[in-house]
Symmetry: C2
Subunit: 478 residues, 2 copies
């Protein structure tokens, strides 16, 4: 992002006017389009609002922009000659299309993190930089010879990675499978996107957990699906609820995250797992099992996934490296019946012509390397340490004001607030203090819940971050 | 892919029966699902059909599969206990969804290439392995320290790559832009997918070239767009045709590939370019300019893209590394007004949560490195050499039977066949002889056209490959 040069002899407002004029002439802001507000631009460029007001005045004097009270500042459309030439009405185009934009809270959080990278981040559902195996991956890239063919990949994904995953899934997840049953994706998000786009039609009813990560994904609404809720308690969902929803709404698929569920951290009970598979096979109903967190289990072996104990093949299994290694690799996978793998692979070709071979090569080497086991062990220790730091901070800063269960795996802690406060106000106030979290309503819950991701901030930030949150909460309590 | 072991003491058919039983028990072929045909399986496993027949008989005797005349061989559904348990009807699910499958010819070609990797490949629209800068990329991976943060990327793409592209686009394509106007995509395919999904609604009319690469993309039909044709002659399209289509059908967007058009190789004339931009600004109509081939121009500077001479900002510009470096990197870009970049970036987050950082780092380093210029020079020489080998072979094998214009850039030669033969039969016959091409009808043309990609086969394969094609053609001429 361009910023004005504070050591230049040219005044800041002149530099900004020049930069805007250039961006307008390059087409970033076409004739008639709306410029960012004075406030926003000041924030982006790190200057006072008055400096932007001066820059706008300069451009207005040159006839390049026009401001009208209440409708912001636009690029002039009259400057472009006497003949009626016009640029497409881009804002109308960008409002069209069948893709819904992300929910406002998520966009607000992303915007805040882009503008203030120093915010203490309890919001991004990923590992901190220092928990990712960056050094190991850099070493693998140096050691290995990546001189393979860089053409388009196999539509199901890089074959050696699928072979490595057959071993990995057998060893770590108790899943017996074959490389032809595996589809490599860019992560759980793409797996879910392919399933909702290719196997379901608009109007279809599906069941999702409540609360659930799925509510934060507008892809479910964009695909025109009708969503029905399976309430999550301490043992996870009640399998009997699925039968009720099936009778009432003819649900066509069930989306589940049974191991350290996002956002609640719940582990589905082993009795519930059996009942769930019974209901699914009784109704001939597919289960989509999203399993990104199992290998983070802090102590002991992680629970076996549904897929490993599924007697008739009701399960579409989704896994990923994002939460156990590095989200930036963008490598995930699905295990599914052959017909489904082929269908989704074919559709994905139309969307993006498949994935880059390079991250897949790296992921495959990493799985087979002697780095993988020690990395997992270090990850467990680090996550447990951070979870305990978070709990310590909550107990210190907010005794009696929060309620939560202690998660045994995963990256998140789900927290009920005892005082009643306004979700959006709490978020804004916390951002002002210097931290950010995700309001529970993003996951479909009632107001008054918060998801804290303890894997993302630096360990030494957790205490101060919770202090900021506590301060914001107390201010709103008045 | 598993193959039976010919040195094993176990009979081939027993090995195959064991393997199938395992794949069935793992869920690759759930109860009730259809197995591949005997013929297909024999081909995949490299055995005689009779061996597969014996393996099937074995599995039938065990009650694992059932064959019914005319409806193929299925996994038994009765084996699964007395209670009515059933697996989801996966084939019904895989036929649902709003994504159309790829056109039959494209699937047939992909299948043939998967099963017989030794086919001489005039079909895949990409560079041969030896034309890609694999050694340079491997060297960059060794030399550079990729220890950056491996978290989720900026939704618009890796910032240093966007900065490198600002320089690249200015130097090589005459496009003045800023990093905030650039969206990194996984290639032109994803750029087009985002545009059709996010900026257009089902029922919208759009104009595409005839013939055109777009016809081979079911994404246009999947998005429910109404397609109208702009015939391509030697100078490219007639800009006046756009006005006619706009009046008649209210087209909302025009998709163009002005430089060495796929499949015809045509270069849009410079007079036509100006008229086109006039028509677009007169009608306020967006132009989508796909520009993957410009830098392959065999001699002299490639023509400036529309985007570089577009006075009012009508153009959405699409570029990619796939045709000038390596398709397996999966790195492309769009240059667009700010509102459009933000909208598409937000939608892409929902589909796949953004791209892997690693190929973007590599692409950025490659662009800035001293490897880039020499690579382009070598590419020009090699493409020109292969084009001339193809023309030589056509003149030798098929004098008077084919008509074509000599392309001055790009990877393809577009060829009219003088004799009338059946598209599909010609394809099958050529595959039998050992080569493969794309029938012109895939691009929306009448029967009797062929696209030969001379960039993909090895240089020494071009002559023999065309000899095979000629033999197939002559046989069908009777």
């Amino acid at each position: 992002m361009w910023k004005p040069d504070r050591n230049s002899k040219k005044a800041l407002f002149e530099q900004i006017a020049d930069n805007l004029e250039q961006r307008i002439s390059y087409g970033e802001f076409p004739p008639g389009s709306l410029l960012p507000s004075e406030r926003k631009l000041a924030e982006q460029l790190g200057v006072n609002r008055s400096t932007v007001i001066l820059a706008f005045a300069e451009l207005r004097a040159m006839g390049i922009i026009e401001s009208r009270t209440g409708s912001g500042t636009r690029v002039s459309s009259s400057k472009w000659g006497a003949t009626p030439r016009h640029t497409p009405n881009w804002s109308r185009y960008s409002e069209g299309g069948s893709f819904l934009p992300n929910p406002p809270f998520m966009r607000r959080i992303r915007e805040a993190l882009t503008q203030h990278p120093s915010l203490i981040d309890f919001a991004s559902g990923e590992l901190a930089a220092e928990l990712a195996p960056s050094a190991e991956i850099a070493a693998l890239m140096r050691e290995q010879q990546y001189t393979g063919y860089l053409g388009y990949d196999n539509p199901q994904g890089y074959t050696p990675l699928r072979q490595s995953l057959v071993t990995y899934l057998g060893k770590y997840r108790g899943i017996q499978t074959t490389e032809s049953s595996i589809l490599i994706t860019s992560g759980s998000q793409q797996s879910l996107f392919l399933i909702t786009q290719c196997l379901l039609a608009p109007g279809d009813a599906v069941a999702i957990e409540d609360p659930s990560y799925c509510y934060s994904l507008p892809m479910f609404q964009s695909a025109g699906l009708r969503l029905f809720r399976l309430p999550v308690d301490r043992q996870g969902i009640q399998p009997g609820d699925i039968r009720t929803l099936f009778k009432k709404h003819r649900i066509k698929m069930v989306f589940l995250n049974p191991n350290f569920q996002n956002p609640t951290g719940t582990l589905l009970g082993s009795e519930e797992r059996k009942q769930l598979l019974d209901v699914a096979s009784e109704l001939g109903l597919p289960l989509v099992e999203d399993d990104p967190f199992s290998l983070t289990a802090y102590e002991g072996a992680p629970p076996l996934p549904l897929k490993a104990i599924d007697p008739v093949g009701s399960t579409l299994y989704i896994g990923s490296f994002s939460k156990i290694a590095a989200s930036g690799l963008r490598v995930g996978w699905m295990v599914a019946p052959n017909a489904i793998v082929k269908r989704l692979a074919d559709a994905r070709q139309q969307m993006d012509f498949g994935l880059s071979v390079i991250p897949q090569q790296i992921a495959s080497e990493f799985l087979k390397s002697s780095y993988f086991e020690p990395h997992l062990e270090r990850l467990h220790t680090q996550l447990l340490y951070r979870r305990d730091l978070l709990i310590e901070a909550l107990e210190k800063e907010l005794p009696d004001l929060v309620q939560y269960s202690v998660p045994q795996g995963g990256l998140h802690l789900w927290c009920k607030l005892v005082p009643e406060v306004h979700d959006g106000k709490l978020l804004e106030e916390t951002i002002k203090k210097g931290a950010v979290f995700v309001p529970g309503s993003v996951y479909g819950s009632d107001a008054g819940y918060v998801r804290f991701t303890f894997a993302r901030p630096k360990a030494e930030e957790i205490g101060p971050g919770i202090a900021m949150f506590a301060e914001a909460l107390r201010e709103l309590m008045g």
